[in-house]
Every structure is written in C-alpha cells, then in structure tokens.
C-alpha cells in the first residue's frame, strides 16, 4: 500500500534530491522555531533587531561553517578552524597594539595566516594522502599553542582607527523599534555584511563554477571523479585552501565584533559549532551532499535555540548545553530517519519498530 503511494507520488513531480530535502527541513524548522518563540515569549523576538543580531553575533561562525561545508562536501574535514580563528584574533590584536600597527596590515596578517594553514593542510591531505582528521588536528594543536606563545593573557585593541571601524554600523531606520529613549533604528554590523557576502560568494562558486562542481564530484565518488578526468588532488587541495582562507576572514570578523582576543575564549570551541551547523544544514560527512544556504540556516537554528534557552529563564549553565545537545540529537535523528525512509540507508530498527515500511522493502528486494 505504502509502496504504491510513494511510486505514484514520485511519478507526478520531479524527484527531490537529498540536498534539497534536508535543506527544506532545516529552513522549515528554523522558521517554525522562530515563529513559536515569537508567539510564546514575544518581547525581544518581535523586534527586528533580535533577528539582525543573529547575524551580528554569529558572523564569524557563519563564515567558518561555509568553509567547513566546502571541505565536508569534498569528503574531508577541518577541525583546525576554531584554533585558526583564535590565532588570527590574537596576532591581529598584538599587531594593532604595536607601534607600527595598521588596519590594512592586520587584514593582511589575518588572510596570510588563514591561507598558510589552508596551504599546508591542503598539501598534506591532497598530495601526501594523510588522513584529513589527523592533519587538521595537528593544525588545531599548532594554532592553539601558537596563540598562547604569541600572548598568554587576554588583550583588547586600543588603536583608535580600529575602534572606529569596529563601532561602524549600518542603520536602517524603518526597521527600528520604539523604546523608552525614542525610535531606535536597526543596526547591522560590518561583520554581518562580510558574512552575507561570503555566503553569496561560496554559493556562486559551488553552484556555477567548475571548481564547485568538481568538489561535489570528488566528494561523491573519488574513483569515478578520477575517471571523468577531474584532478582529484588539486580539487581537494583547493577545498582546504579555501577553508583556511575563510577561517582567516572569520578570525578578522570575530575581532571586528569583539574587539579583543582571549587564548581561552569563545573561538576555541568554534570548530564543533561549525561542524554541527553544517550537519544541521544537511551536509553529510561522507561527502558529495551539502548546500551553503542550509549551512547558513543551520547556524541560525543553533543560535536561535541558544536564544530561546536564555530567554526562557533556564539560567543555569548546564541547561544551555543540554538543550543544545538534545536539539542536535533531534536534528541528526530526523535526518537519519528521513534519509532512511527514502530508501537510502535503510534503518536497522528491530522488527517490532518497523511500521510496515521495511516489509515492503524486503519484499521488493527479494
């Protein structure tokens, strides 16, 4: 019965790909959650500024997730990005506070560090065939160690020109909100703009350039990509190089938002957050499947969960990460079940949990 339904359903319209299905789920869940938060808690969630703050506060995370998505689509992984972010912020702060510091120079340092990490890791992964997890793990160790070697204590930027850049806001007056002091326009930080530009650029690259298509092909199946004449090694190398560059940009964006660097700060846990964002956005670690828009919504979803937990009054620190983990669990299970229902993986549930679905599959198999 159910088998007939699915067959007739598929004949009627174009079959939807896994990427699109996962993307749709993520976007739906994000908007459902946000609307629910608006209805239940109102207050801050009704203000447009709260929505914009999602971008303002997490610009660096969005950029990092974009880089990770590229690497994950190509079939690898990069866990050094959080460490690189921390290293970039620390180096930039030290440089800006030194006598010869300039904004252009700090930007060069940020991009240079990111590119250097991407270059070395890409070379090792692609051309020397070392496992990406271990290479980037070493990269993470190196970045974190270097951060404390550069400066052991938290530092704040004191340079005036950079402070002015950091406090620069784009104001949209019609999106503001009424408060005690009068009409406050909505404010967009520079970092948020950078993040959106990066998302757009990566979207274009993955969709419409040869490199982007090659990345999908290499991640989907190494061997057939090679037989199609794609330079597998170079594609992998570029994926890692790109991820490193984005990590450098993310570090600078983080500095633009915080204006300080801390060796034991937020940026250190960023890689796991970024991986989680990509996963929720529908990227598969096995490679070949993923979408940058999904990644963007994955980040937004995770941070909305955080906002909701904070607003709902669960102030104890353990609640935040427990809810975070529970939601992660929910999303991962949802994806697994959805993909299995489509006959991709085939869920190995015990017999009493198969609601008629598995039976028809078995019959068709025999």
């Amino acid at each position: 019965m159910s088998k007939n339904n699915t067959v007739s359903g598929r004949k009627g319209r174009e079959p939807i790909t896994d990427t699109k299905l996962l993307l749709t789920i993520t976007i739906c869940v994000f908007f459902a959650m946000y609307v629910l938060a608006m209805l239940i808690w109102g207050g801050g969630f009704l203000k447009p500024q709260q929505f914009i703050n999602l971008f303002n506060d997490n610009a660096y995370l969005i950029i990092l997730s974009c880089g990770l998505t590229i690497v994950m689509i190509s079939g690898g992984i990069d866990i050094s990005v959080g460490g690189v972010t921390a290293l970039v912020t620390m180096c930039c702060v030290v440089f800006l506070n030194s006598s010869g510091g300039s904004i252009l120079g700090s930007l060069c340092i940020a991009l240079g560090i990111g590119l250097a990490f991407g270059l070395v890791q890409g070379l090792l992964v692609a051309y020397l065939d070392v496992q990406p997890f271990i290479v980037t793990l070493a990269g993470m160790f190196f970045a974190r160690g270097m951060t404390t070697i550069v400066n052991k204590v938290p530092a704040t930027v004191t340079m005036e020109a950079f402070k002015a850049l950091k406090d620069m806001r784009i104001e949209i007056s019609w999106l503001g909100a009424q408060s005690k002091g009068g009409w406050i326009p909505a404010r967009i930080e520079l970092g948020a703009v950078i993040a959106l530009v990066v998302v757009l650029a990566v979207f274009v690259i993955l969709r419409w350039t040869r490199l982007g298509r090659n990345i999908y092909a290499v991640g989907g199946n190494n061997q057939s990509a090679l037989m199609l004449g794609i330079n597998v090694k170079r594609t992998k190398f570029y994926a890692h190089l790109f991820c490193g560059l984005l990590a450098g940009i993310a570090g600078y964006t983080f500095l633009l938002h915080i204006g300080a660097a801390n060796p034991a700060g937020d940026a250190n846990m960023a890689e796991m957050k970024a991986i989680a964002s990509s996963i929720i956005g529908g990227t598969l670690l096995t490679g070949g499947v993923g979408n940058i828009i999904g990644t963007l919504f994955g980040t937004l979803t995770l941070e909305t969960i955080r906002n909701i937990v904070v607003t709902s009054g669960l102030k104890e620190p353990w609640w935040q990460s427990i809810t975070y983990g529970a939601m992660l669990c929910f999303f991962i299970l949802l994806q697994s079940v959805v993909l299995a229902r489509r006959g991709k993986g085939g869920l190995a549930l015990p017999k009493w949990l198969n609601f008629g679905k598995k039976k028809s599959d078995d019959e068709s198999a025999t």
């Binding site: 090792l124 065939d129 271990i134 793990l137 990269g139 989680a276 670690l285 353990w318 299995a340």
Partner: protein, 365 residues
Amino acid sequence: MSKVKTVMQKNSQLIIPLIALLAIVLFNVIRCVVIGNFSFFEIRLTENTNILSGNVINILKDASELAILAMGMTLVTSASRGQDISVGASAAIAGSVFVKILLANPANWGVIIIAILASCVVAMICGAFNGILVSIFKIQPMIATLILYTVGRSIAYWINGGATPTIAKDHPVLYLGGFFPGNPIPTPIFIVIICAIIFVLVLKFTNLGLYTQAVGINEKAAHLNGINPIKMKLLTFIILGVCVALAGVIRVSRLALINHETILLGVEMDAILAVAIGGNSLGGGKFKLSGSIIGAYVIEALTNTLYAMKVASTDVKAYKAIVIILIVVMGSPVVKKHTSRLWSKLFKKKEIPATAGASSSKGGM
C-alpha cells in the same frame, strides 16, 4: 634470515611508531649529553616512602589513561570507520558517579568495587547511546558522538551539583592512582598491563578481532557471511565505554578530586592520535592493538620531554603538532612508497624496484 623477514613484514605497521619512540629517546639522550646531566633517565627510589620516581616512571604512569582509551578506540575505529570524540565527556560523567558513590559511603574496598562497577555501567550506557546512533541510525560516528561531547560535561556538572568534590587524603581509593603500600611501582601501570593482557587474550581466543575487522572492511560482505554488523559496532562502543570508565577512575583517584570541566579534557584527540600514530587507518578495517598502545606512549613521552625542556604547559601543543605532522608524513602511503623504492635501489640492487613499489602499495591497500 627469512624468519626475520616474515616477522618484519607481519609487523610492518609497527615500524613507524617504534621509530618515533626511538627518535624521542635518542633526542633525549643527545639533549642529556649536551646539557651534561642525565637526570632525565634517572629512576630513584625514595627512601622513607619506598616509591619509584623519575621521568621514565612518570611517562609510564601518565600514559595509562591514554593507553587504555587507545585500546578501546582502536576497536571502535576498526568497526565503525570513525572515531568517538565523546570519551573525555563520558569519562567526566563516569568519574562523577564514581566520586558520588565513594563520598556517600564509608571508605572500604567493597564500596570502591561497587563504585567502579557503577561507573562502568554508566560509561557503558554512554557507549551504548553512541553505539545505537552509529549502528542502528547509521549516523557517522563523529557526528553521533558530537552530541555527548557537547552535553557530557554539563551532565557531570549536574551530578556534582556544580561543586568539585575532593576525596579525603587517607581514602584507600588513592592507592589506585598512586601506590599500594609496600609496592614501589605505580598502580596505573599494573592496570594497563592487566587491560592489555585481557584485550590480547580476548582477541586471541575469540572472533572479536576478526569480526570487527570484517565489519570495518566491508559491512555488506560481513553481513552476507553471517556477522551482524549492528551488534559488532554496538559491542565495540560498549567495550570503549568500559575503557572510558577505567580511565576516569584512574584519573580521579590520581588527582583525589573531580573537576568536571578539566578532567581528561581533550583526551579524545590524543586517543585518536595514538590510534593513527600506531599505523592504523582511521578509515576502519585492519588494526593492530600494539601499535595504538605504543602510540599512546609516544605521545606521553613527547609531552614529558617538552615539559622537561621547560616549555610552558600551554605552549606544548604547538611543538607537539610539529612532531605529529612529521610522524604522520613519515607514515603516509606516498612517502612510504618512495622510501621503499629508494631503499631497494640503495641496498637490494638485484631486485627490480617496480615490484618493490607494487608490493608496498598492495600492503597499503
């Protein structure tokens, strides 16, 4: 001569970790010669307390948790083609349960054994949770264990009530992390030896090793041959759970307190590293347990050497990373192929280089 050759071929995986360990020892010898002070290799017997101390003993002692975790991690890597990154967080949970039971009851060996068993059960539940996600729901291990990685320390916080309970100085459980009275050798070393013996016996006399490798190499083929891949993956994760509990217990009884934030922080990365340095593929399949154990001692020897060189504990990571890259590059298939070709060119001129290259690439597969 041919016997030596077959032994060499059988254990070719162990060459890289052994060379790494030897290189670290050699480096220390040179360093000691340069300084003119051989205190690094000294093993002292403290007179009034009658215990052994010295850097070598410290390395053997400090690597205990890592070695135990590396053994479990090897099995998980082999069967599930992925790694468990939640071991540190699970160890925090297991350690919290252990301390909670110890402090609520009088200090005697019965209570300690019950507490160890309880923490084992808790860690096995954590392992089973990961295992179910990986085997039944077919989620990649790293993602599945990411959940416990984020949540684990918060659960430990909740068990401890936010405090960091300490164990009294005269509690007998401290013998587990330190020394039994009258015995000069640290107890964790014995625990590792016992664990290794159990693992070796189990792998020798049961099909566990064969089945995990079969599942890791080709799940479908293993299934067609009558092996249940779901059961095997779940089993490896539960075995890792036991290892995690033991590691947590050793660390807690060594520090005499539990700090859920810092206990075994980042140990998951070191454990995975130990597996990789041991020459095992992180993509699953064939494994060599001895390689992972040697890998754990390589990492600890490296850390200890850096400490002895007066490198600050926060900076150690940067130097460690460089050595790791060197070791991994040495063991990479591309470099191996080139070195073996070079080797045969230099020393065995009669053999055709092409065949040497082909046989090495076969071994790599």
